[in-house]
């Protein structure tokens, strides 16, 4: 049986179809799991019960029910909206999330495509969503959406820089840009990079929160001011795309942070042959820890005003990241 499967999957087209299927299924699944986790955790933080009735006493079917509900809604497009742009925007945002999954190493040999410039690819693709959000805000023919879209453009472009610069420290320590290579560097060094790159890790996490437009950086959505910002006119399955994309993006950005700073699929003390099977589980566990921290921050803090947000990015995070790079480079040259 196993030899039949190995022969089957050594065929290029079959393995390609398998990989596509896994990637296509992972995004809704991960989105739903994280969405459900957010609902339940936020409820517990606010001394409530959370979803209860959908699916027994735990409410695990709540997001499936929500997904079905969104699908069967009427597809409303405002009369004065720019139709092709309006329809394309959620697709663009979702595509950038899906493409990020390609370079995340799930185990010692489990990576969809090990690009030699994996980090560069990941950061470049994740900034595609900025265009998607701006398209959504502009094409909705609604002043609130426009304001949300413009705020988003400013915020996302500003926070690209700290995101990128924070990663450079880890790349210097690993001497390679390939994602699998960075994890291997941490394995051979024996410690995760966060021990020396804690500043880079903190800057990356803050910039990731801003890239996801989550509270405390959710000025573009700003539910109490702009009703939903650039998402105001979206309903039905288009809104579902944005919704899933946000949760799946939480997962992928956290997975990138885990890979670069926390050691990826590796835990010290576990033998190599176990890691081949336990690797994905370890990665997912670490990612969910970071996702929990993101949820925790979202339900505790209020949101920044956009000029405070911008000054935080330009005046605090970018100098910190640059200093981090300089110090890391000096230590790398001096200590080898």
């Amino acid at each position: 049986m196993t030899s039949f499967l190995t022969d089957l999957f050594s065929n290029f087209w079959v393995s390609l179809a398998g990989k596509l299927l896994i990637v296509a299924l992972m995004i809704p699944l991960v989105g739903m799991v994280i969405g459900f986790a957010e609902m339940k955790l936020s409820a517990k933080m606010q001394a409530r019960v959370g979803p209860y009735f959908a699916g027994g006493r735990w409410g695990w079917a709540q997001l499936i029910a929500d997904g079905v509900k969104f699908f069967q809604k009427e597809d409303l497009i405002p009369a004065e909206a720019d139709r092709p742009v309006f329809k394309l925007a959620p697709v663009l945002v979702l595509v950038s999330t899906v493409a990020l999954l390609v370079v995340i190493p799930f185990g010692p040999d489990l990576i969809f495509r090990d690009l030699s410039v994996g980090v560069f690819f990941a950061l470049a693709i994740s900034s595609l969503s900025t265009i998607g959000i701006l398209m959504a805000g502009w094409s909705s023919a609604n002043k609130y959406s426009l304001m949300g879209g413009l705020r988003a453009a400013g915020q996302l472009i500003a926070y690209e820089l700290p995101l990128v610069l924070a990663v450079v420290g880890a790349v210097i320590l690993a001497e390679t840009m390939s994602m699998a290579g960075i994890v291997e560097a941490q394995v051979s060094a024996g410690y995760p990079f966060v021990i020396f790159q804690f500043v880079g890790f903190a800057v990356f996490m803050i910039a990731a929160l801003a890239e996801l437009t989550r509270i405390p950086f959710d000025m573009p959505i700003a539910e109490s001011e702009l009703v939903m910002g650039y998402l105001t006119e979206y309903s039905g399955f288009r809104f579902l795309f944005f919704f899933l994309a946000e949760f799946a993006n939480m997962f992928t950005l956290s997975a990138i942070a885990v890979t670069l700073f926390l050691g990826g699929w590796w835990l010290p003390g576990i033998p190599d042959d176990v890691l081949a099977y336990a690797g994905p589980l370890i990665l997912v566990a670490k990612t969910f820890l970071l996702v929990f921290i993101m949820i925790w921050f979202r339900w505790t803090f209020p949101r920044f005003r956009e000029d405070q947000l911008q000054s935080l990015a330009w005046k605090v995070l970018v100098p910190l990241a640059l200093a981090n790079i300089a110090i890391t480079a000096v230590f790398k040259v001096v200590l080898g």
Partner: protein, 165 residues
């Protein structure tokens, strides 16, 4: 009188906020039911206090169609119709007793403000408060409770609560 927030390390305020949230989460998960902000209705129902103004109950026998409640209602949501009935005298040659009888006593709960003036001014102990609250309908017509339905609410009228010394 207002004191400025104490000068502390930058980030301490946010850290304190994070502590409150995580502490609430742990308390809610591991000590369920202790301090929830919400009640998981309809699995768990809170019982209202005895004096709660839920619905008005009518004792038809006691009503003499004096129309005081209908007149005093700020919304005029009580609709009363009655007629005079004559009863045979007790002894032959005695007075014919005339009694007011209710034909119709409707309270439109879609208009009712739950103020209690009708209960308060009734001189014949015919109207009572009951804390029942689950009588929502899907159409407005169902919010008009007629005589018999109001009589049925009488069964849910609680004992008057004991008073503070």
């Amino acid at each position: 009188m207002i004191e400025a927030p104490k000068r502390s390390l930058p980030g301490m305020g946010m850290a304190r906020g994070l502590w409150v949230t995580i502490y609430t989460m742990v308390k809610t998960i591991f000590l369920p039911g202790k301090h929830l902000a919400t009640v998981n209705y309809p699995v768990v129902k809170e019982t209202p206090v005895p004096r709660a103004r839920g619905v008005i109950a009518l004792d038809q026998e006691a009503c003499t169609v004096c129309m005081l409640c209908a007149r005093q209602c700020p919304d005029w949501c009580i609709y009363i119709e009655g007629h005079k009935e004559e009863k045979e005298p007790d002894k032959p040659g005695g007075r014919i007793k005339v009694r007011n009888t209710l034909d119709r006593f409707d309270i439109d709960y879609a208009l009712c403000m739950y103020c209690g003036i009708c209960v308060e001014v009734c001189p014949f102990d015919a109207l009572f408060w009951s804390p029942e609250y689950e009588y929502s309908e899907s159409n407005m017509g169902g919010m008009l409770h007629d005589m018999d339905r109001l009589q049925d609410w009488l069964l849910t009228v609680p004992e008057n609560p004991a008073l503070e010394k």
